[in-house]
């Protein structure tokens, strides 16, 4: 069990101090990764995307790889669109901040498409 004091505090670009999830804060090392990148541990981030409904398990290999491939890029696009983030397909700072934030365990894939609210 990770004790509360072990949570990492990161100062963001806007100088706001944020406390990030100790479980997922390692994902901040993937900041600015994009298609073609190969970063050790990226398979863990792919598991996160799989868990919340954005990425299917690989068909050809037994596990996720550490390569930012086209399938993962599609998942990032989908995640950014679903969570109202700028849709870049890259792991930019806003996307990484959202990924490491604590969240509800209900999969985003458990729900139907978004319905627009008429203003």
């Amino acid at each position: 069990r990770i004790i509360p004091e072990s949570a990492t505090v990161i100062t963001s670009e806007s100088h706001k101090t944020q406390t990030h999830n100790a479980t997922w804060h390692d994902f901040s090392k993937f900041l600015y990764a994009e298609r073609g990148s190969h970063v050790s541990g990226m398979s863990e981030l792919k598991k996160y995307f799989h868990r919340f409904g954005y990425l299917s398990l690989p068909e050809t290999t037994p596990n996720f790889t550490d390569t930012f491939d086209s399938q993962f890029e599609t998942a990032v696009f989908r995640y950014q669109k679903r969570l109202g983030l700028p849709v870049t397909g890259k792991l930019d700072s806003e996307t990484i901040s959202t990924i490491v934030a604590p969240r509800c365990g209900v999969s985003d894939a458990a729900t139907n498409g978004i319905h627009a609210t008429r203003r």
Binding site: R1, I2, I3, P4, A7, V9, Q18, T19, H20, N21, A22, T23, W24, F52, K81, R82, L83, G84, T98, A101, P102, R103, C104, G105, V106, D108, A110, T111, N112, G113, I114, H115, T117, R118, R119
Partner: protein, 191 residues
């Protein structure tokens, strides 16, 4: 707003009353039971104010429509909790009624007075999960209660237009609710 696949909702005769109960065995020490009960009462009443559904606490856990409990790690539903932060809670779609919170979190009923950097506002999470219990999925509107993430020490309990429109499309509107008053309160907040 979004629904669960198949758009499940509670179906009871009108007027609809759903009962909720706390697990007698799976609670936490950090927040007292009366405080937890008060937090959930407020959270349920927010949803009840916009739809023609009321919520009533019952001591009969086995017979309640909605069952609430705090659990650690693997608690038997295939969705184990992960300790401090990470996943905070989860709830099931209608008409299952199970509502689980991660007992490892630093749950708080007053985040402004909390010293812990990882304190999580219980009322905000309760309000969000009740949305799931009622049939709402995750929203892409960041300000909405049904947005999936919540930063530590952040309080987000007021239903936004997106939340209200979503739940009213499932249950209809509470006759005492008016969108104009919601818009007014949101505008004054934004101002």
């Amino acid at each position: 707003y979004a629904y669960f696949n198949g758009k499940p909702r509670w179906t009871r005769g009108a007027p609809m009353t759903l009962t909720y109960a706390f697990s007698p065995y799976n609670m936490i020490d950090r927040v007292s039971v009366p405080e937890i009960r008060a937090v959930f009462k407020r959270a349920f009443s927010r949803w009840a104010s916009v739809i023609p559904v009321s919520f009533q606490e019952t001591p009969q856990y086995d017979k309640a429509d909605i069952t609430i409990g705090f659990y650690l790690g693997d608690h038997g539903d295939g969705e184990p909790f992960d300790g401090v932060l990470g996943v905070l809670a989860h709830a099931f779609s209608p008409q299952n009624g199970r509502f689980h919170l991660d007992a490892a979190e630093m749950w708080s009923v007053d985040v402004e007075r909390e010293e812990s950097r990882v304190a999580v506002d219980l009322e905000s999470v309760a309000t969000h999960e009740i949305g799931h219990v009622l049939g709402l999925g995750h929203s892409s509107v960041k300000e909405a209660v049904m947005y999936p993430s919540l930063s530590p020490r952040r309080k987000k309990v007021d239903l936004k237009i997106d939340d209200v429109a979503g739940v009213q499309s499932l249950y209809g509107s509470n006759p005492n609710f008016s969108f104009s008053s919601l818009l007014q309160s949101q505008n004054s907040f934004n101002a």
